[in-house]
Symmetry: C2
Subunit: 454 residues, 2 copies
Amino acid sequence: MQLKIKEIFNQDYVKLEGQKIQIKAWVRSNRDSKKIGFLVLNDGSSLTNLQAVYRVDKIDNYEEIAAARMWAAVVIEGVIKLTPTAKQPLELEVLNAQILKQSDEDFLLSNNDLNLETLRLNAHLRPRTNLFHAIMKVRATLAFAVHEFMNQNEYSWLAAPLFTGNDAEGAGETFSIQKFDNEEFFGKQTHLSVTGQLQAEAYAQAFGNVYTFGPTFRAEKSHTNRHLAEFWMIEPEMAFVDLKGMQDIVEDLVKHVIKAVLEKNQQELEFLAQRNDENLIKKLQKVVESKFERIEYKDAVKILADAVKNGHQFENNEIFFGMDLGSEHERYMCETYHQGPVFLQNYPKDIKAFYMKLNDDQQTVASTDLLIPGVGELVGGSQREDSYEKLLKRCQELKMPIESLQWYLDLRRFGYYMSSGFGIGFERLVMYVTGVNNIKDTIPFPRSHGQIEF
Amino acid sequence: MQLKIKEIFNQDYVKLEGQKIQIKAWVRSNRDSKKIGFLVLNDGSSLTNLQAVYRVDKIDNYEEIAAARMWAAVVIEGVIKLTPTAKQPLELEVLNAQILKQSDEDFLLSNNDLNLETLRLNAHLRPRTNLFHAIMKVRATLAFAVHEFMNQNEYSWLAAPLFTGNDAEGAGETFSIQKFDNEEFFGKQTHLSVTGQLQAEAYAQAFGNVYTFGPTFRAEKSHTNRHLAEFWMIEPEMAFVDLKGMQDIVEDLVKHVIKAVLEKNQQELEFLAQRNDENLIKKLQKVVESKFERIEYKDAVKILADAVKNGHQFENNEIFFGMDLGSEHERYMCETYHQGPVFLQNYPKDIKAFYMKLNDDQQTVASTDLLIPGVGELVGGSQREDSYEKLLKRCQELKMPIESLQWYLDLRRFGYYMSSGFGIGFERLVMYVTGVNNIKDTIPFPRSHGQIEF
């Protein structure tokens, strides 16, 4: 019976006592005296290792197995033996062992205390460390949980285009495509998309509920621990849903994906808690159980001004209606004022994107950011401007190229009653759920200014 | 009770008789005499429309509702009435109706007989047609079914990087990124990736089973109905799996996703069968039930040569060992010789990529293509070269830049016993399952040479 390590530990393993099994795995460590040796094995299915005990009087090739180095690939046949008094509840008594492929002696990451920067420089090998095993397994759980939530709620996944001829999507610097054979491949200057929202709106007006889950690109030169040039976004868009209804969906989605990790990745979370943040699991459980607070932007400004009055020091203490809140202000709102997730809502129009619905006060737009302790902004969303005339006016005010947005404006001419949507930076979500501090450690092969290895 | 149309028809709707419900939807058509009118409504949840009957003696705003144009957004309250003798099993007797947003008169796609080219020029509106509703819903089912299969089988989803400094991934022309502020943003010339396979191998050596599902880019100027500049690929990679084991996984995956569509999208398939290919459903059922054939490349060459000898005319009748099979030859193999999916395997090394495992005959590599009736190649895969020396030699023979591939070569130094993987062009899969002839009609906003609208 060939088993994966996860299959062994995920069942009532008492029943496995005395069973003969086969396992293919990599050696994590190997120590031997002259008569008995211990292989610690991992096959990638689990953070848990399986210990295999080999004895000189049981196998013919004791010397060969004793020479298996870290990350050698091996195939082991053995009998499961319960070890109730040991740290591990069971081990494998080796009957037969073969080295499938020896490993070179200079494996770079054999030292467990390597710093994150060194691991980043070895992004092809870092998934073999416990830390990156844990992070990337949680990441995979989050990704599937997003698709699962969307599928359960009848959202169709949408592939938004990545090449765009439109430089006016309203979010930062874009990458451009070089000419090909001395001509523009697409017939005009082409950028890499920074959002799939505009196209998602077109599909929401036909399907009701859609979502994108794909890469986006931003040519930001910042070298902070919160920016990547290439990252993944989830952008749901719902027709017939207003700002408040959209916030409910954000809350349900965030809770669903965190619950999935709490259920599936207990072991990884325990490891990450130990390594990154001892309160990690409690923090996640609290999010799942809490009701997300909703606070008007204008009230947040008062709260922050009061905090300054009462002696709280921000780096930027100049608080006024119309300001773009800094990360420090956002974190104050969700970490100090309210200790948990907070939606701020109805921001001044001048600090938000052109497509957001103008409120009756003519000053603010129907927008919301979800602020999360330790991260700040995790989700940004809005109800979209549904009036052709108002949207056109706003585009003109901002001197945007109307022609390339005409199709987007035209959506408003054909029954565009209401649409709301939001964007989640997927790597921000991974940061939050894993407690990792640097966004470059949340994606397998990070791309940022000056960094393109692998 | 607010319901979606899909919820109405997906339940035992006899129970709904006499129930009062509310629905928000768009008008697909509206006709009235002076006393009675009929709204055909769709809310995007289903291909099925709901007919709502409004009467001048039941509602105050009969004239207003009678003026609702195609794609006007409306909210209707009414009572479900079963209509066993009509084509539709039920209708809505309107108690209250409001136009939420009128639609302009010049809706472009009001004619049902528009050709596909016109629809492509209106890619923002085409999801409102029955045809694109059906195609894109099937597409969404396929995408989720891929994630579902992978999750059930313990594969971790991997975000392969899209920016690459490596121009040697072995597949066609690439797009390059323009300099930014007069310098290379990433410090060296940067391309858009054509595959995530190399990075997937790194993760397979840590996790066992991984898969990518993301966009890839190819600067192909061809204007055929089978090429896009931007398309989506699924690339699973499995450690400890050989060519034959990999073919089993391909077969299971293809059957799983087709089964999902047969179960979830019966209505869409019936529509597509009527429109595209009357044998569509039978064809899909046959794939699910059949055992995929496996034929050696060298035997295929003999079969094709025999066909020519027996009078079959290919455009290219020159059949020899070492040739790259054309689409016509591939289709002969899966449509005429064997009427169903066929794996060809063990191709000559010179027509395949550098990373494929050299077979003992020194002539062929452990590669396979899955050929599907009506499409040709749907899947390409291989067992990877696991020997550092052989892989290095092959890179040198092909004059590839070793330096930027050193990390990939190095994987072989640390327990790289075995790895196999494959790639599925997602849009090819959608073509096959929907019976659509042009790949531009399988993706919401197609990008190809000269085409970048929306």
